[in-house]
């Protein structure tokens, strides 16, 4: 049982993550994706909004996405609390400072804005979209990495 409590190697965890695609399709008839949940939560929080992107969003018919996200939070809790020999750090210690918190807020804003503008994230585009051989998802994934590498370079040079 000890192996279960250690980090799982890529050849176990990678295929298991990919298995989410057929599980959702076969068990629920849903196309794997996560970032649309941001739109749904925004729609729920602003029932009287005039913004058409939120107003014309029929989140009730897409509520499975919020259930899925609730599952992710539950699964993460279980894995960290009961399936890990030792908790591992998720974020650098200096993110607990005011400056670090501002970074998370700005970074989160880029994640939310970018994934909605690109109509998908690493789940909906990189895993689901490429699995479905969509050119748009391949381009999206290349763009994700272009952005990520740029920010990493900027950070390395101390610009951000």
């Amino acid at each position: 049982m000890n192996w279960l409590l250690q980090p799982w190697p890529w050849y176990v965890s990678g295929p298991l993550l990919g298995l989410t695609v057929p599980l959702l399709l076969l068990m629920a008839g849903k196309t794997f994706g996560i970032s649309s949940s941001f739109r749904h939560v925004a729609s729920i929080c602003s029932p009287n909004t005039k913004l058409s992107y939120l107003k014309e969003n029929n989140w009730r018919s897409e509520s499975w996405n919020l259930v899925f996200v609730l599952g992710i939070m539950t699964g993460a809790f279980i894995a960290m609390r009961f399936l890990s020999a030792a908790p591992f750090p998720l974020l650098p210690a200096d993110y607990a400072t005011t400056g670090g918190m501002a970074k998370l807020l700005v970074g989160g804003l880029l994640v939310g804005f970018g994934t909605r503008y690109a109509d998908g994230c690493t789940s909906g585009h990189t895993i689901m979209g490429i699995s479905n051989l969509q050119t748009s998802s391949l381009i999206a994934t290349a763009s994700f990495f272009a952005g990520g590498l740029t920010m990493t370079a900027l950070t390395a040079f101390g610009i951000f």
Binding site: P15, L19, P22, M27, I72, P89, G112, T115
Partner: protein, 136 residues
């Protein structure tokens, strides 16, 4: 019933996100710095399993467990695929979390990830506001 199945698949996905450690900012940094193959191998093997599954589902015209036809939503290419994609990538490198891991970080008790989530929500609002003026 459908929602119960979705919840269970979500729990499964959340567990693997933590156990693979792809929810860690440090893993994302090592990926973008090309210091570790871990993330690349995970992404590629996940796509491989996903692609084979989709191929088989289409080839044998499989149905859902409730006997419904399986339809995959296709995302059309537009200018936002690139512009939005790059902006997301910038944020991904800062927060060390794409949308799935944001929720996984929150669930595992990382309170700071709530800021990432609030930021993402603000980002969705900003997109909703700017959308009529953005190139698509």
């Amino acid at each position: 019933m459908n929602n119960l199945r979705v919840l269970l698949i979500g729990i499964f996905f959340g567990i693997v996100l933590i156990k693979s450690e792809v929810v860690s900012w440090f893993r994302i940094q090592k990926m973008f710095r090309f210091e570790e193959a871990h993330m690349y191998l995970i992404i590629c093997s996940a796509i491989a399993v996903g692609a084979i599954s989709v191929f088989l589902i289409k080839k044998f015209q499989l149905q859902t467990v409730s006997g419904e036809k399986i339809l995959i939503n296709v995302k059309e290419f537009q200018k936002g695929t690139i512009i939005g994609g790059i902006l997301f990538g910038l944020g991904w490198a800062i927060t060390g979390a794409c949308p799935g891991p944001i929720y996984a970080q929150i669930g595992s008790g990382e309170a700071l990830a709530l800021l990432t989530f609030v930021g993402a929500l603000l980002g969705a609002y900003l997109y909703a506001y700017l959308r009529p003026r953005l190139p698509h």
